[in-house]
Symmetry: C2
Subunit: 222 residues, 2 copies
Amino acid sequence: MTPAAGPRAVVAVDIALCTVRDGALHVLVGQTRTGPFAGWWTLPGGLVRRDETLDDAAARELSAQTGIRDVYLEQLYTFGHPARDPQGRVVSVAYVGLVPPERLDDVRAGDKYAQVAWRPVADLPALAYDHASVVATAVERLRGKVAYTNLVYALLPPAFTLGELQSMYEAVLGRTLDRRNFRKKLLSLGLLKPLGRTRRGPHRPAALYGFRRRRPMVVEIL
Amino acid sequence: MTPAAGPRAVVAVDIALCTVRDGALHVLVGQTRTGPFAGWWTLPGGLVRRDETLDDAAARELSAQTGIRDVYLEQLYTFGHPARDPQGRVVSVAYVGLVPPERLDDVRAGDKYAQVAWRPVADLPALAYDHASVVATAVERLRGKVAYTNLVYALLPPAFTLGELQSMYEAVLGRTLDRRNFRKKLLSLGLLKPLGRTRRGPHRPAALYGFRRRRPMVVEIL
DNA sequence: ACAAAAGTGTTGGATTTACACCCATGA
DNA sequence: TCATGGGTGTAAATCCAACACTTTTGT
């Protein structure tokens, strides 16, 4: 470990920013404006600066390229195949991000992108680099983690119905859950606080709930 | 993501090579011979070469510095605080490695180290860089993962008794388990094959078992 | 004989699953 | 009135936790 002498590599971060929309997991992709992958879709990301942490770099790039700030971000995996970038050795530290639905439309394309778009993970366009693997790894991580953490709080608005909460789990897990058992379990965990308000619609009004604590905790949910 | 232009960082790998000895988790550390941390204990690791994958780099450095080859290795987390190395920007991709006890004595110090030693994770010497965090993260990962995978196969010799298997779980998890329930559960999972031999000692001979499949699988164990 | 670990079943409680009907609203 | 989702309880099955005595060997 003698930094002065060794071969150098560029370190980048890439972010798989996820959300659930219309009952399906989506990820944010941007259409690159220039460079060898001009016209291709990629995950937001970019080079790590000399004086910032990896977490800071992920938040900064995400904000610069998509306008999205202050979301849940966690380091996912580091992709370092020597040929993953045709231009040279780039080691990419991938992150998963989670955005609640009320902020989906805050996204705007930064300089690097002609456009950004939410795409269902089940129907992605061809992605540049190894970004398809990044998305696959992110989905795997989410699937695994929602079952034993309260992570979905980062995918939900401040107030939601139990039906919406259940749809969230179903979308991430890709399977349906029994409604009565789901309610019993979640209410028994004490993670939620009833807000005393209701959501109205073309049906019986539904009680609204919020998370008692909006920060990551491990709790056996399913 | 324009590799040609950006600021450069050095990419390294560090390996927390773990084993269970005398009923306790141990990690392999080496006493650095030269450089600014001469005399300090560090985890084996080193710079990633231009043309190798991260996994290859981890295996190569481990083999070069400790003589240990062909062990279970999995990527753990990437540490990139700008000040983690006093000499410059080094982003380190950390790995966890697992070695079975019959290979503990294959370790020999490579050129970089004056000596290498197995130390209990509960009683580590001061480690250079952020290697204490790496070990802590590795232990956390192992604790979490043994409960829902068959990972312990990588910590056990080809033949072992159920008692030894149980001690392995107890050492990693840091708690005791009920013997009868443990046996019932593990035998019911069908992960083990009885070898038809026994281990003798100053007590009743114990049946020997091996893992049916020595590769990572997710199985709910505890 | 003794020490040390191996081997072995049952029971009660808790948890999980499966399952069907009525309710309140907006259109 | 109809369509839509909200709200609710029970019984069976399964899983999990707790628990003690006998066996075989080496010394």
